[in-house]
Every structure is written in structure tokens, then in C-alpha cells.
């Protein structure tokens, strides 16, 4: 009847409920790495991976969250979780938070089940581990610093370059002719090299990730569904269509919506650049293009998306429940979101003032931010889209395979 004592016990950090083993001796909650029969595979896990394995062993005995996303159905295909399984499932997790707030074993329960946090920690490790060249994977660890340095370098490069090219940061209005400041071929060479490197680095990383466990042949149906999952952010709908959690157990669709603004804004900007490239090489139409031209319209719409999306995500990220995801990765998340925002902002300001004497400075600043993005693409938050898409393809292949387990019913 000592309810006060119970409340005290229940609210103490460890829960402190007495846990006993078969002979009545107190035992601690299932410690990391001990839940899976201690097989040899388990000893190869990092501490963060072992924590995922421990948690999934609990989840697999519960399964209440099966309807939220793909992680839990993928879990039911397994009895044990090796390194490849854990890396795959960590990247399948969208960090929506639904399972955390629904979890009867979440802190302050002794079992300390926090799927999104454990997954986020492993996710960062997979980016590091699969990075190419591998030593650069370390950039993920202090990613806020890496992004800042890249930004500083990008800005310095183009500002200095502008001065070197034109002798001054101010100039007579040039009617928006960027190439009067930075010659077209110079820009193509600089960005082309960096972009190609980013593609190569991310490509090598994701191929390594893919080969860690191949669930089966890539069928058209699996690829189509995976693409749909990516393009609609299917697994940010919570399974019930009400969305993710952010600051508490209430659902919100705004994380998904702001992500859509960001993603499609980025894609529109990419499309603008692609169209402009076609104009240049295919038709010989040189920039600057009209405000009503396709590249400018696409770029402007994309730019607006890239203002709204990142601003919203930034705001939500700051309000995120502290147990969601890995707080240590916040600089990486916010650095990336901030960079996208500034690329868009500087791009739109440049567009507005391209006919003035400030064009050179504005152009240098904009190109500097874009260069920073390109430089950090293979070693920052951008990678999540690549790895998650690959994980979703794995899941869409896997779920079409026959289930090898016949567990009967609980």
C-alpha cells in the first residue's frame, strides 16, 4: 500500500523495480548484447548495434507496433539480428517516433526501449562505415564543423575568385550575365568535378551497403513500390495516415509536408539546372534566361520550396522530443537544413538583384553555398536519402520473399 514509495520508485531514473532471476536473485534489466543467445555474430556488433539487437529482441516478442512502418514487419522475418540486419533496419527507420510514444517498454521502463534513438545512432555509424574514401567517413562525426568549414571554404573560394577575375566585388550592372564574372567553362569544370566525385562517393557507399545483405532479385514491382515509398514518404504517415510525432504523443503531418517541400524544392532546382544545361549545350541558348523561361521558373519554384521546407524542418527539429533520434546528430541535421535554406535564399536574392552592381558578390555567395553542399554531400545528412531509398528497396524485395519462419501463434 506504499503508493508514495511506488511513485518514487516508478519515477526514479532506473525505474528500480525489483528484478529477480529464477532463483530469486536480483538481476539487472537485460543488458546490451546478452539477449540473443550470445552467438558469435553478436560479438561482432558495435555497442550501438548491440543495443538495437537488444531492443529488437524485445520488440519481436511484443510486436504491437507492426502497423506503423516497415521496420517491424521486417523484424518479424527474423529471430536474431546480425550486423547486416541491424544496418539495414536502422536505415529503414524514418525516425517518425510513433513507436516510441506507443511503447509500453520505453523509458522510464526498465527495458529502456527507444527504437528511433537506437536506430539513429546506428544509422550514423553506417554512413561512416560505408563512406568512400573510408577515412572521410570521420566527417560525419563532427558534421556541424565539417559543413561550416565547407561553407567557409566555398564562400572564400568564390569571393576571392571574383576579385581575381574582375578586380573588385562591385561592378557595373551586367544585365544578369553571370559568365561575365565566372566564365561558364570554369564553373562547369569546378562543379562538375565536385559533383561527379559526390556521386561516385555516395555510389560506392550505397553499393557497399547493398552488398552487406541482398534479400533477393530486384523485380520491377519491388523497384516501383520502393520508388513510391520514397516519393510519397509513405513511412512518415504513421501507418494510420495521421503522421509522425514531434514534440509529444500527438501526431503531425507537418514533418512529412516540410520534407516534401524540401525534397521537391531540391528536385525542381536540380531540374532547373538540368534544363539550363540542355539549353546551353543542345540549343546554344546561353544564360541569363528570362524570368518567364523554364529554368528560371523551375528554379524559383524550387527555391521557394527550399525556403519553406528547411525552415519548417528546422523549427520542428528544435522542438523535437529529446528522446527522438540521436541528439548528437542535431548539428548534422540542422547544418544540412540550414545550408539548403541559405542556398535557396542566396539564389533568390541573386535572381532579384542580378541586374545590379551587387550581382558579383551575390553570385559568389550563392555559388559558395552550393559548393559547400556539393562538397559535403557524401559526408553529411544528404546521404540519408540514398541509404534510406536503398533500405526501402531491400524491404520491398524482402517482403515479396516467402517467410521462412513458422512461429505458430502466441
Amino acid at each position: 500500500m506504499q503508493l508514495d514509495a511506488l511513485i518514487k520508485e516508478a519515477t526514479s531514473p532506473q525505474g528500480a523495480a525489483e528484478v529477480r532471476d529464477a532463483s530469486g536473485m536480483p538481476v539487472p534489466p537485460p543488458p546490451p548484447g546478452t539477449m540473443c543467445n550470445g552467438s558469435a555474430a553478436q560479438s561482432l556488433l558495435t555497442a550501438d548495434e548491440a543495443e538495437v539487437s537488444r531492443i529488437l529482441q524485445i520488440c519481436n516478442a511484443c510486436r504491437y507496433c507492426e502497423g506503423f512502418c516497415a521496420v517491424f514487419p521486417a523484424m518479424t522475418h527474423r529471430l536474431e539480428f546480425n550486423k547486416a540486419d541491424i544496418n539495414y533496419m536502422a536505415n529503414l527507420c524514418h525516425n517518425c517516433g510513433d513507436c516510441l510514444h506507443a511503447c509500453q517498454y520505453a523509458p522510464p521502463h526498465d527495458f529502456q526501449v527507444n527504437v528511433p534513438q537506437a536506430m539513429a545512432k546506428v544509422r550514423a555509424q553506417t554512413y561512416q562505415e560505408f563512406a568512400w574514401p573510408q577515412p572521410l567517413g570521420a566527417l560525419y562525426k563532427r558534421n556541424g564543423l565539417a559543413v561550416s568549414l565547407a561553407l567557409a571554404a566555398g564562400l572564400a573560394l568564390f569571393l576571392v575568385l571574383a576579385v581575381a577575375m574582375t578586380g573588385s566585388l562591385r561592378h557595373e550592372p551586367l544585365a544578369g550575365d553571370f559568365y561575365a564574372i565566372f566564365p561558364h567553362n570554369l564553373l562547369v569544370a569546378m562543379f562538375g568535378v565536385v559533383f561527379m566525385f559526390a556521386i561516385l562517393a555516395l555510389g560506392v557507399g550505397v553499393v557497399r551497403f547493398w552488398r552487406q545483405s541482398v534479400p533477393g532479385p530486384r523485380t520491377g514491382a519491388a523497384i516501383a513500390e520502393a520508388a513510391s515509398n520514397v516519393l510519397t514518404l509513405k513511412y512518415m504517415d504513421g501507418g494510420h495516415g495521421k503522421g509522425c510525432n514531434n514534440e509529444d504523443d500527438a501526431f503531425t503531418l507537418w514533418r512529412r509536408r516540410f520534407h516534401h517541400f524540401t525534397f521537391y524544392g531540391f528536385m525542381l532546382c536540380f531540374a532547373a539546372t538540368s534544363v539550363a544545361t540542355l539549353y546551353h549545350y543542345l540549343f546554344g541558348w546561353s544564360a541569363p534566361y528570362d524570368y518567364s523561361s523554364l529554368p528560371v521558373v523551375l528554379g524559383t519554384l524550387g527555391g521557394i520550396g527550399l525556403l519553406i521546407g528547411p525552415a519548417g524542418l528546422f523549427w520542428l527539429n528544435l522542438r523535437r522530443h529529446p528522446l527522438h533520434g540521436d541528439m548528437a546528430q542535431r548539428p548534422m541535421d540542422l547544418g544540412f537544413i540550414g545550408l539548403l535554406f541559405f542556398i535557396s535564399l542566396t539564389g533568390l536574392v541573386l535572381l532579384a538583384f542580378r541586374d545590379t552592381s551587387w550581382m558579383g558578390v551575390l553570385l559568389a555567395v550563392h555559388l559558395g553555398t552550393v559548393m559547400a553542399l556539393f562538397l559535403t554531400m557524401p559526408y553529411g545528412k544528404f546521404a540519408h536519402g540514398i541509404y534510406r531509398s536503398a533500405a526501402l528497396l531491400k524491404w520491398n524485395i524482402e517482403k515479396r520473399q516467402p517467410l521462412n519462419l513458422n512461429l505458430g501463434a502466441d
Binding site: V19, D21, N60, H101, Q104, L407, A409, D410
Partner: protein, 498 residues
């Protein structure tokens, strides 16, 4: 500052006018924070009452045992979203009749059953999401609607809805006493001495299964001199101390149900003392043998499917020395049962396994060897009542009997885990608390505190939530009426009609 609808009702009840109270007076006071309490609070608020909820637990532990639930047993005459086929009223009633062995009340039971046919729309409105049956639970796809994310997600949704509707919620507010005036609710007295008045009250504070002293007393001492309940685990919340149940009993409320009975399941002995919930189940019992601390078998492990037998095994294990048993399987069983949360004790030989689990090695080996030799070859099928059985043992295994001969061998320790208790307050169809056969005019009860009216014995998946939802809503509705002074009239009408 309280701004509930109750302010509109004006002056306090005349009888209370002389009592000085600083606290605001509410129409309806709901004591408890689980499914039944929330259903009562939401329904009363929807009926226009101002509502205060008092939850004993801190916010992070709110919801009582509801946070460990996962589904609702639902009557339906045709397929309904997540429910396949049909589960008509009569079949539901027969199932209930069977599991309770007739210790039920047909009128109240049928009320609950009918309510489950229609309550899900209301549940959805308050934010509850349903999902298709979980893998491993497909056998109840027809009868049970699963909550997406389980009971804690349901509890969260209800609390959000309650707060949005203006229900006041106080956590860490355990109630010790109820002030009664000749069977009429007057006020609740909190642990801290605070006195809270209301025009009516719903008690929905759970059973007494977390009260270890009470369990000890109820189970008593066995012939070995042990107090079996000392070795029980509590599958759910630590906050169901039965304080109000005991208070109401001493205040002369009519009770129902056997105080010595509880729903008792065999679970993993390594589960935490409280809140182990669903994941501490051990589902391999029917695939092997179970031995006690003396390394002897004590019951037919293959009598029926495990979901139909785990409740029997709780009691069986409670009767063994030390209230401990071991489920023993070999490598052939791995991958054929729901994965357990804790790893089994593993050994390559039976002797090694016996040493590791600290039972007498020769006895253990003889028990398993005798069993192996008695196994009659058949067509093993763990998804059906197959023909693999033993012949010639004192305690036969009637299905799924296969020699335990292929290493590695595994042992999982079992202990009794208490889910809930059956003792409750006697009610009528209005969920009214009775004193000496006379219904109170404004005191109602819902959930585990009265589930024994419908479920006097046994259990079937999802029926606790059915009772909690149905009677929670009835209690909330009647409590709102009572607060408006309409309830007696309603009762009079019903009597007249009868």
C-alpha cells in the same frame, strides 16, 4: 482555472452548502486513469458535464493495465475494416459462457457484447487507430480488433482527446477514501489529505493485483510452508493497489467475485516484478516438456494450444515447489514459437542443461529419457492438434510429443504472472455501486473494479477492454445524468417499464 461546463449548473448541492471547500466543484469525478476511466471521462464530458480525472500514477506511467493491452473483442455480423467474417452476439456470448464456466451475468454480458459492435466509431473519433491483426495473432483476426501501437497508444489518444475537450486531469493524485452519505457520493479524499467534492463519481481505479500483501493473504500458505504469492510477478502496473476496492468493501458496498482468484499466467521468471507485459510470455511449452525444481513433469504440456492453456499453467506453476518450473525444448523447436524476450539457457547435452539450471542431473535426464521413450511417432504439426503423443507415462503428453534429443537444448524458467484480479463491486446495468442491494444515486464503477460481474472466472483475449469500454461509457453517461439530477428519474422510469 477551471472552465468546465459544470460552472453553468450554478449552486452547489444544497446538502453541501455548509461545507467550506477551496477546490472547484466538478460535476463528475473520475478516479482512475486507464481505459475505463478515460471512456467514462470522455462520455461524461460529451454529455456536458465538467469532469476531473484523478490518476494515481505519474504521467509517464498513466493508463494502468490498459497500456499493456492490444485489442478489443468485437461482435460483428459481417466483415468490418480490420475484422474478417462475422462474430455474432450469440457466439461471443457462448465463448464468454465457456471461459467463465457460467460465472457471469447474461444481461450485463450481452450489454457489453452489443456495445462492442458499435463502440469503435466512437473510439476512432477520440483518436484510437486500429490495425490488422499482428503476425502471430492471426487466429483472432475474426474476433479481435487490434489497436495500432497497442494500448499505450490508445491511452495517449484518449488523454489527448480528454484534454482537448476540457477534462481536467491530475496525475500523482491517489485517492484513499470516499466520503459517503448513506450510499451517496459526497467527496474523495486524496492521499495528501485534499478533499474533492463532485456531484457524481466514477470509480475506475483497477483491481488489487499489484498489492503483494493482499495477494499473499489471498493465496495463503501452502503445505510446504511457502507463501506462493511471494514468488509471483505482476504483469501490469504497480499502481493497482486495490486501495479503493478495499475501502468500498469496508464501507459496505456489495461485492462480487472470489477475492482469492486472479488471472494467473505462466511467464518468463526473469520478467521484471511489474510491467513485464506481453513480451515476457514463453510460447514453447507445448513444443517440449516442463519440469519443476525437482526435475519432474507435472502436467500434460500438449493438452491444447498454448493460447488456450497459458492461464492454467500460471496456477500449475504456482503449485510447484518454489513456484518455479522450466520449459525444456531441443533444437527442433527453435523457430516454431514466438521469439521470447530473454534467451534460453543453452546446453549441448541434457546433463549440462540440468547442471546449468541447477536441478538434479540424474532425475532430469531420467524424466527426459522416459519421455523420449514414451513418444509415439506421428505426423508432427504444431499448427494443429496433431497425433504425436506419449504412451505409458504417469502424465502423458497428448499432442506435439517429440523426443527431446537434438542439441542444443534450451531451458526457459517459468513463474506465475498475475494479470488481474476478479474481485469487484457488484453493479446493475447502469454501472451503479450498490450498498446492501440498494443502488447509489451518484456513485458508479467501471473497468477492472467491476469486471467480475461479467467475467467471474477465466479470460479470453480482448474481453477486458470490451468490459472497460462498455461500462466506462455507461458509467460516464449515468454519472453525467446523476450530476444533472436526472439519473433518479431515469431509474424510476426503468423500474416503471420493468
Amino acid at each position: 482555472m477551471h472552465k468546465g461546463a459544470g460552472e453553468k449548473h450554478g449552486a452547489k448541492h444544497p446538502l453541501l452548502e455548509n461545507i467550506v471547500s477551496q477546490a472547484p466543484t466538478y460535476d463528475v469525478l473520475v478516479i482512475g486513469g486507464g481505459n475505463a476511466a478515460l471512456c467514462a471521462a470522455l462520455t461524461a464530458r460529451e454529455a456536458g458535464a465538467s469532469v476531473l480525472m484523478l490518476e494515481a500514477a505519474p504521467k509517464e506511467w498513466r493508463g494502468g493495465n490498459s497500456m499493456h493491452t492490444r485489442n478489443l473483442r468485437c461482435m460483428h455480423d459481417e466483415p468490418q475494416d480490420v475484422l474478417v467474417d462475422a462474430y455474432p452476439e450469440e457466439e461471443y456470448w457462448q465463448d464468454l459462457l465457456k471461459v467463465t464456466g457460467g460465472i457471469t451475468n447474461e444481461k450485463l454480458a450481452r450489454m457489453v457484447i452489443r456495445e462492442t459492435a458499435t463502440c469503435r466509431g466512437w473510439m476512432r473519433k477520440h483518436g484510437v487507430n486500429f490495425q490488422n491483426p499482428l503476425s502471430g495473432a492471426l487466429h483472432v483476426a475474426r474476433t479481435n480488433a487490434f489497436f495500432m501501437g497497442g494500448g499505450k497508444a490508445l491511452v495517449n489518444a484518449y488523454f489527448r482527446s480528454a484534454e482537448a475537450l476540457g477534462v481536467q486531469v491530475r496525475y500523482e493524485a491517489p485517492v484513499d477514501e470516499i466520503e459517503l452519505d448513506n450510499g451517496r457520493f459526497v467527496a474523495a479524499r486524496l492521499r495528501n489529505g485534499e478533499r474533492i467534492e463532485a456531484r457524481s463519481c466514477v470509480l475506475a481505479a483497477g483491481g488489487f493485483e499489484s498489492n503483494r500483501e493482499w495477494l499473499r493473504e489471498a493465496w495463503g500458505q501452502n503445505e510446504r510452508g511457502e507463501w506462493p504469492a511471494d514468488n509471483f510477478l505482476i504483469r501490469g502496473t504497480r499502481f493497482n493497489q486495490g486501495v479503493l476496492l478495499r475501502y468500498m468493501m469496508s464501507a459496505g458496498a456489495d461485492i462480487i467475485g472470489d477475492p482469492s482468484q486472479s488471472h494467473c499466467v505462466a511467464i518468463d521468471a526473469r520478467a521484471p516484478l511489474y510491467d513485464g507485459g506481453i513480451c515476457t510470455r514463453i510460447d514453447c511449452v507445448s513444443l517440449g516438456v516442463v519440469v519443476n525444481r525437482e526435475a519432474r513433469r507435472f502436467y500434460d504440456e500438449g493438452e491444447d494450444f498454448w493460447p488456450k492453456r497459458y492461464a492454467i499453467w500460471g496456477r500449475l506453476v504456482a503449485m510447484q515447489p518454489g513456484q518455479l518450473a522450466w520449459s525444456i525444448i531441443d533444437a527442433k523447436a527453435v523457430g516454431r514459437f514466438m521469439p521470447p524476450v530473454f534467451p534460453g539457457t543453452q546446453a549441448d547435452t541434457l546433463e549440462e542443461l540440468a547442471r546449468k539450471i541447477e536441478v538434479d542431473v540424474p532425475t532430469f535426464v531420467k524424466t527426459v529419457t522416459d519421455f523420449n521413450q514414451a513418444c509415439v511417432a506421428g505426423d508432427f504439426d504444431h499448427t494443429a492438434l496433431d497425433n504425436c503423443h506419449t504412451q505409458g507415462l504417469d502424465i502423458e503428453k497428448t499432442h506435439w510429443a517429440r523426443p527431446i534429443d537434438t542439441g542444443p537444448f534450451y531451458a526457459y524458467p517459468l513463474r506465475p504472472g498475475i494479470t488481474f484480479t476478479y474481485l469487484g463491486l457488484k453493479v446493475n446495468e447502469h454501472a451503479v455501486v450498490h450498498f446492501g442491494g440498494k443502488p447509489s444515486s451518484n456513485l458508479f464503477v467501471a473497468g477492472e473494479m467491476m469486471a467480475g460481474n461479467v467475467l467471474g472466472k477465466g479470460y479470453t483475449a480482448g474481453v477486458g477492454m470490451s468490459i472497460g469500454t462498455a461500462f466506462g461509457r455507461i458509467a460516464g453517461d449515468r454519472a453525467a445524468s446523476a450530476a444533472k439530477g436526472e439519473f433518479k428519474h431515469l431509474q424510476g422510469e426503468q423500474r416503471h417499464a420493468a
